[in-house]
Symmetry: C2
Subunit: 362 residues, 2 copies
């Protein structure tokens, strides 16, 4: 087991990474302060891992709430039902919520923990690669609004994160690859060496080689933890974690969160951001190509679906990264370095949005 | 104008108290960081004070959302509509929400600010006495659940609080007196001298004498600010602010938040807490009587409505003050001093709950 710490003063917490952690009752219980636990999970994950978690939590009063699977259920309505569940089962301020699942479960459970009785403890047990390297770390919790992703939420840190790499074996190929998009992202934004490693080891990663996987999760969490420690509430630096996400969120929104996985949309978004950066002369054509090739090497899509340029602009305009009317994007200026800027030419952005086909052929 | 500060490190903020502050545009705008403002108010307050606030905010882009009046609208459904409103009007992360109204408006607007885009700035402009001396200070935000008050919410501090004492002139007598219940509470929990002053000056307070009013608001806010500075998230000391509230919330819940104002229920709750303390031998009969007399001198009810003992116990059991199955109550051990305890005899609590009539006659 490897242990990292997200350094946030009195809200610091450990991330445990290793195979089989789900079965380590002592480790989990060390982070449960009271006697009540509410496990929030979903219908896909529950049959696979709920029994193991129940055994690990033996001795505590455990209630379980099972959500339907899918991003379309990450909304205020389902959030309200989690509140109903907690109140019906008389959970109090010393309860601990446990998120057992992917990003949707983690985000909703985290938002429930942030707002039930004005905040109770929670533990993240991410069961997808995406959640292990991204959403479970850093305290962003949220639900979606019909008009956009994560428009309702809170910054609220968990007591700990348990990333059990053994559970990744059960992921479908598409979902697994979607997680690799975020892994690659960390290389582009902060570590050229790690980017190179991911690109070189793409076969080992696709084969889910345990050693490669542990390194990928560990280094991703390290980079994210460093960024979050410096800027918990995203007033500055943390925005770099959104590389590929403004494009990606717009694509997800326009496809109603059903056609694409989040990581797939982010993969397309990273390629589009690189394309815009290249058009602005901030990134060489070779580097933009390297990013695209790396995305493709991880079995991820590089071509966005056919979406109107104006629709995309509109969807990007509603994104949270808009500061007082100005659209700010995270764009690479090198591999391993990005900038947050609104100084791109709108005409170049339109070219990038119109160039879906060109990107795919290029 | 008097200025107090709630000392919370980087989240410290001023409370301004004085007549006519609502018209002080410079003062308000000093706490607006961006160019967007969303005013959340209600149908009763808007006709009285919205124009003045709009003028004070001249030069900013102001959108207004008007809630229906009443505690029964403080729920997740109305909260969702505030989110819809903010998103429809394209408010972004630099917007400032302004709560213009009483406790319901302040609590809902605060919860909206805490959770819109994971947190935006907000300003409290409380227009009731209750809100000026209690709910607008300290960062408790919430909505109710069908099963209980404030079960969903967050700790989230405003940028500033503007308590314009001139607006209290328009309050109905019943609502004004309900606010005096919280003023009296501060005396019982923390300042025997202030308790004595409130009891002596009850006529001046009921006549809304400007001098008496300013002193009452100022001293109440001072006591609250000191408690909040020491224990923002209610892990200890802050619980004393709930004196009278566990009983009061149960009464409100069983009467479906319609028959009684919050301050009226708290007034009854303080008398019941004093009664229980007396039955336990922790407070003299004379002191319990002093508290009851002071409540009555402020034209507040001392007799709870006829509610079954078991229903009350059940309603109190669901209260947030329950820690891991044990009901904790805030009970006076002197005038000016309370304790948070679960060491009362359940049989004495039943006697207190059964003694509504006795309390009224005693």
């Amino acid at each position: 087991m490897e242990t990292l710490t997200v350094e946030l003063g009195s809200r610091s917490y450990p991330i445990y990474i290793g195979a089989g952690l789900l079965h380590d009752g002592d480790l989990i219980k060390r982070h449960v302060a009271g006697s009540q636990v509410a496990v929030i999970t979903n219908e896909t994950v529950a049959p696979l891992y709920l029994d193991a978690l129940r055994q690990a939590l033996a001795g505590l009063a455990v209630d379980v709430h099972v959500l339907p699977d899918g991003e379309q259920h990450k909304n205020l309505d389902r959030y309200g039902r989690i509140m109903d569940f907690l109140i019906e089962h008389r959970h109090n301020r010393t309860t601990t919520l446990v998120a057992l699942g992917g990003g949707v479960v983690g985000d909703m459970c985290g938002f429930a923990a942030a707002t039930f009785q004005r905040g109770v403890d929670f533990i993240q047990i991410p069961t997808t690669l995406l959640a292990q390297v991204d959403s479970s770390v850093g305290g962003k919790t949220a639900v979606n609004h019909a008009s956009g992703k994560n428009l309702i939420g809170a910054f609220y840190q968990p007591r700990c994160v348990l990333a059990d790499t053994a559970v990744l074996a059960s992921l479908g190929a598409r979902e697994y690859c979607a997680g690799l998009a975020e892994v690659l992202k960390y290389g582009v934004i902060a570590d050229e060496g790690f980017f190179g490693w991911v690109a070189r080891e793409s076969s080992a990663l696709l084969a889910r080689d345990p050693g490669a996987l542990t390194h990928a999760v560990r280094r991703s969490c390290e980079i994210k933890a460093d960024v979050v420690a410096e800027d918990e509430r995203e007033v500055g630096l943390r925005a770099i974690l959104n590389f590929g996400h403004t494009f990606g969120h717009a694509i997800e929104s326009l496809t109603h969160y059903t056609r694409l996985l989040h990581g797939e949309a982010v993969a397309m978004g990273m390629v589009m951001a690189a394309d815009l950066s290249m058009r602005m002369g901030w990134l060489s054509a070779a580097q933009a190509q390297q990013i695209k090739v790396a995305v493709a090497s991880l079995d991820l899509p590089v071509c966005p679906p056919e979406l109107g340029v104006d629709d995309m602009l509109d969807a990007m305009g509603m994104d949270k990264k808009v500061v007082d009317g100005t659209l700010r994007l995270v764009l690479p200026r090198d591999i391993g370095s990005v900038m947050v800027t609104s100084d791109f030419a709108p005409s170049r952005l339109r070219e990038t949005l119109a160039a879906g086909g060109a990107l795919c052929d290029g």
